[in-house]
């Protein structure tokens, strides 16, 4: 399957690496290809520069946001949440219209320091902002509540006995994404919260996620909804 991933950072690398490994035809999109390729230093969080990472994942192509969006039958938004609307603008509405957009981004605002607040929350969400801006795109919000490596390999923690959430306005798109989450990545417990306004709920999990990351000294954890 042809898949476009917007974003070259840790989430983009994790998702595109896993999908390429599964044999999909993956193109990652970035704002400025030359600039992305020029970076070689590891990110402060420890993951490699895309240019270095790509050497080990030669089948993953790199293009502009527009190239990757056009390439994908499905598109993943793995950009920083505060830059997502700008990235999607560069991707181009005509390149994403009618497609499923898996929105993984979180609107983390580090401008006032750490821990970050959310740049949109409570009475709105990034997922809703994206859906409003692109009414013909099938936005499915998911995966934003776990760290990158867990997204594509939930078995790394507690035998994958923990929970993922999906929400979105298009029922078929959600069912399709849920099938991918289970089949491609190995998720077992996926709860459908309803329409895209429920992105408020999953994005507002981030403040406690970040605090748990600090308290546990690791991002390798996830919430299980015990019921």
């Amino acid at each position: 399957m042809k898949i476009g991933i917007l974003g070259t950072s840790m989430v983009g690398q994790a998702i595109s690496g896993k999908l390429a490994e599964l044999g999909h035809d993956v193109m990652v999109g970035t704002r400025d290809v030359a600039k992305t390729l020029a970076h070689t230093e590891p990110h402060p969080y420890g993951f490699p520069a895309f240019s270095v990472w790509q050497k080990e994942h030669a089948s993953v192509k790199l293009g502009t946001f527009a190239d990757a969006a056009k390439h994908g039958e499905v598109v993943f938004n793995a950009t920083n949440g505060t830059g997502s609307l700008e990235a999607l603008k560069l991707a181009g509405e005509s390149n994403i219209n009618g497609k499923v957009l898996v929105d993984i981004a979180n609107p983390l605002d580090f401008s006032q320091g750490n821990p970050p607040s959310l740049s949109v929350s409570n009475t709105d969400s990034l997922g809703e902002q994206i859906q409003r801006a692109y009414p013909n795109v099938k936005v499915v919000k998911t995966l934003n509540t776990v760290t990158a490596f867990l997204m594509v390999n939930p078995g790394l923690v507690g035998n994958a006995d923990h929970t993922l959430f999906v929400c979105g306005n298009d029922t078929e798109a959600k069912a399709q994404v849920t099938e991918w989450l289970k089949g491609w990545f190995g998720w077992k417990d996926v709860i459908d919260l309803g329409d895209i306004t429920n992105a408020r709920g999953t994005e507002m999990l981030l403040p406690i996620w970040i605090r748990l990351w600090g308290a546990l000294q690791t991002g390798m954890f996830n919430f299980k909804v015990v019921r």
Copy 2:
């Protein structure tokens, strides 16, 4: 132990009932004792009016917010979050100063309908507002992320194999509350998130909690932090 519980609603009933059962000397506080006793109809959510409930829990005393706060060596804030600051004002600073205040309240704002938003969030929290208003009170935020019956009986779901959070500025108070949570109520996994600013994290769990309540058609669930 002498314990004061502010709030006669479902949470106040659950906490005070359990503590009385354990043999503690419990007084519940309300704004207007005569008015509270005059109510006999069940609440729309299904729990009984306090006056009816009290007949089965005769050892639980009822007084004003000030009476209950004065009575308690420790005080529980089980009021509605949007009314908590007002309730504490009526309780009286001199009646709570120096004491541990277990803050269970959530700032749920139903004014725009259901699901509610939060009246304070993201860059502040109710826990912080209370701590700022009463700097000599040892505010410990906890229990606000589960439904009332689970608070005092976590074994009702998944053999109590799920997680509770505490936060607050006073380390000793947090350790004491954690001991009570385990000893009185049966909590097994209690994570200390740090100071009271972490109440932003636990209060911002409510938006997804409420949505899960809708999706699962029950409030009898809790988050387990799988790590």
